[in-house]
């Protein structure tokens, strides 16, 4: 975990080494509102045409990331709060969440291989990251019951993959969540300042009422 944190810290320092241009124009909207809107975009599937046209893709996204959250939580629950997984309903809930994410992971892998457009832009890192997550889910489903008396291997495999992920993630595309706030912030700031985001609704007032001052 410390390794992951240190690498992320270096990554953010690296990002901040690059310049950022000062905005010199009068605003037509609010940069702050734009940033908030842009950041919340992930929770607004109606906001993007690409998602509206493919709601199934958004549902897959939710399932996949809920599964990730469940699998990561399990890596803490097993050693620090093992009692929770003594409750059968909790185990089933976690297994279902992670199992659904595993199925989505497999669907995403099939899509990556079969869709010519996605295949063309895919690198080994894209495939490895996805396969690694699928393995992580599979190991998680087996390890979550936490019944080491039945054998230690499920736990060893699950935590071995976890350890590998902690090292691999910051160097792979899995680390995209680190960049999400930055891309969304920059885009939201520009678009908010210009009054493009939040997207305008039909209104009676117009820019003619604004003094731009």
């Amino acid at each position: 975990m410390s390794f992951l944190g240190i690498v992320y810290l270096f990554r953010i320092i690296w990002l901040f080494k690059f310049t950022y241009r000062k905005e010199r124009t009068y605003p037509a909207g609010s940069a702050k509102t734009g940033v908030i809107y842009s950041m919340m975009n992930v929770a607004m599937p109606w906001a993007m045409e690409s998602v509206r046209k493919k709601p199934g893709f958004y549902i897959q996204f939710l399932i996949f990331h809920i599964g990730i959250a469940a699998a990561i939580s399990s890596t803490f629950i097993i050693p620090y709060w093992p009692g929770l997984f003594k409750i059968k309903a909790v185990v089933i809930l976690f297994q279902l969440s992670i199992g659904a994410a595993l199925i989505v992971g497999l669907l995403r892998l099939i899509r990556r291989i079969s869709n010519p457009g996605v295949r063309l832009i895919s690198t080994l890192d894209d495939y490895a990251s996805l396969i690694l997550m699928i393995l992580f889910f599979a190991a998680g489903i087996i390890a979550i019951p936490n019944r080491y008396e039945m054998g230690e291997w499920p736990l060893i495999i699950f935590f071995a993959i976890t350890a590998f992920l902690l090292i691999y993630v910051p160097f792979s595309k899995i680390g995209h969540y680190l960049y999400y706030p930055f891309t969304r912030y920059f885009l939201g700031k520009t678009m908010g300042h210009r009054g493009i985001l939040p997207r305008k609704k039909s209104k009676t007032t117009t820019g003619a009422d604004s003094s731009q001052a």
């Binding site: 000062k22 893709f57 891309t183 039909s202």
Partner: protein, 479 residues
């Protein structure tokens, strides 16, 4: 609709043409001698120069767009190139962005520097590869920013494309059309090389036209008049091909009792720096205009209908020129709304009875701030306004954006992918398509001819001028 498919491999392998570059060198043009406009040098280490320029020009927001792409491919559904050519994966915006992203990864990103093959990081081997990159960034993307707004991660592919164009421009690895227009704007201060006498003569001619039309000899198109309410700036296309738009503006300004002027220098609100990615050209053109307004002590700058001109003058130009905005800078659309709201002009929508639809310019809808404003006017000057779908920030490009109209070599591909726009236009059933962009006028006219659509392209000023009611008269004074 046409089914002819352009061979993508031919497009990306189009050779670099340097005839006009050689001519510019022979002619010892000032902009070449002063190093403002760069020429291609086959003996130079262009690959290394490219890499050096990349590291100099990349900024924080571009870096985040470089590293954040997860290769989900969602952008393909938002790009008119990819939608029109679903069987061609090289049209996916992420693929186009990856062509620069892999160079960034190879030289600036950790994983790409250590294990390049793992993330397909790559350094261009020679000028041929840079030329291929030129054909991708200039020929297969209109920088419409539709993919940007549809990217779940917020990756701004259009900005990556523009930055790459700018680096290639610095190396002289550009389409001839881009070189020529940049040359003209550097040399003459306007992108169509309009001479000062031609500019002034056209204004004089239009003034006389309006005087005759209105029967009012006091109508004026003032030039370099100080302390006016606004300085009006135009697209050189208006001088060369569409002077009626200046006459329409003059007519409306006169009826509204406006105090306005046009500058003798710094009147071109268009800016090829936006298309070529050359921030220095962008700064030069924008500064000319801002300084003209300052010298004339104008209280605001009004920009005639032009998509990239509006974006460049209202938004990007101040930043390129490191020039703090001091006075309001607005589109003429906003000026017209003010006139209508204040009762300074009266309009009759029955004078525009034909069905009208509106095409949102990419540079205004996705990189500017005017979406509802033109509609506000159209609903008051047309009796049958109908929306195009999708619209506003989701509208499709006219396909002539980002300077593509000046790059003849990419026209077959541009017109092929214009099928998406043509279908959009056809579905409205409108006879007139209105837009607030001169570039879109040409782009739309080109595809309307190609796809044989029965439509006419106009601008908001045309429709407002047509719907005008003269004080004391029932109907407008249209010809």
């Amino acid at each position: 609709m046409s089914d002819d498919k352009v061979d993508t491999s031919k497009v990306v392998n189009l050779p670099l043409e340097t005839k006009t570059q050689k001519k510019a060198k022979e002619d010892q043009l000032r902009c070449v001698a002063q190093g403002q406009l760069k020429l291609y040098d086959p003996k130079a280490n262009n690959v290394q120069k490219f890499i050096d320029l990349l590291s100099q020009r990349i900024n924080r927001s571009i870096v985040s767009s470089m590293v954040a792409c997860v290769h989900c491919g969602m952008c393909a559904d938002s790009c008119h190139y990819a939608l029109a050519r679903p069987s061609d994966p090289t049209m996916t915006p992420a693929y186009k962005a990856d062509q620069i992203r892999r160079i960034f990864k190879r030289h600036m990103d950790w994983t790409g520097r250590l294990i390049p093959w793992w993330v397909e990081a790559h350094s261009p081997a020679n000028d041929e590869e840079l030329n291929r990159l030129k054909n991708i960034v200039f020929g297969t993307c209109s920088q419409c920013r539709r993919c940007t707004l549809n990217c779940p991660m917020g990756v701004d592919t259009a900005t990556l494309i523009r930055m790459t164009r700018g680096i290639l421009t610095e190396l002289g690895i550009v389409p001839e059309g881009v070189f020529n227009v940049s040359r003209d704007q550097w040399e003459t201060g306007n992108q169509m090389a309009v001479k000062e006498e031609d500019y002034l003569e056209t204004l004089e001619w239009m003034k006389e036209e309006v005087q005759e039309e209105l029967g009012i000899p006091e109508v004026d198109i003032p030039v370099d008049k100080k302390d006016c309410d606004f300085m009006y700036t135009i697209n050189p296309r208006e001088i060369k091909f569409d002077p009626r738009s200046i006459a329409n503006a003059a007519k409306i300004f006169h009826i509204a009792g406006e105090s306005w002027t046009m500058p003798k220098w710094g009147w071109d609100q268009t800016n090829f720096g936006l298309y070529s990615g050359d921030d220095k050209l962008g700064a030069y053109v924008a500064r000319n205009l801002y300084e003209a307004a300052q010298d004339l002590r104008a209280k605001r700058i009004v920009i005639s209908e032009c998509g990239h001109g509006y974006r460049s003058t209202r938004w990007e130009g101040y930043n390129w020129a490191d020039y703090d905005q001091k006075i309001p800078t607005e589109s003429v659309v906003i000026t017209l709304i003010r006139y209508i709201k204040e009762g300074r002009i009266k309009v009759d929508p029955s004078l525009n009875p034909e069905p009208v639809t509106f095409h949102d310019s990419c540079n205004i809808a996705r990189s500017g701030d005017l979406v509802e404003e033109p509609r506000w006017i159209l609903k008051r000057v047309c009796s049958d306004f109908r929306e195009m779908h999708p619209n506003r920030t989701e509208n499709f490009c006219c396909t002539g954006g980002s300077g593509l109209l000046s790059m003849a070599e990419y026209r077959p591909l541009r017109l092929e992918v214009a099928r998406i726009k043509a279908e959009q236009l056809k579905a409205t059933g409108a006879k007139i398509v209105c837009t607030i962009c001169h570039n879109c006028v040409d782009g739309l006219n080109d595809l309307i001819r190609h796809y044989r659509l029965e439509m006419k392209v106009v601008q908001v000023l045309d429709l407002v001028a047509n719907a005008l009611i003269l004080p004391g008269k029932k109907h407008s004074f249209r010809k």
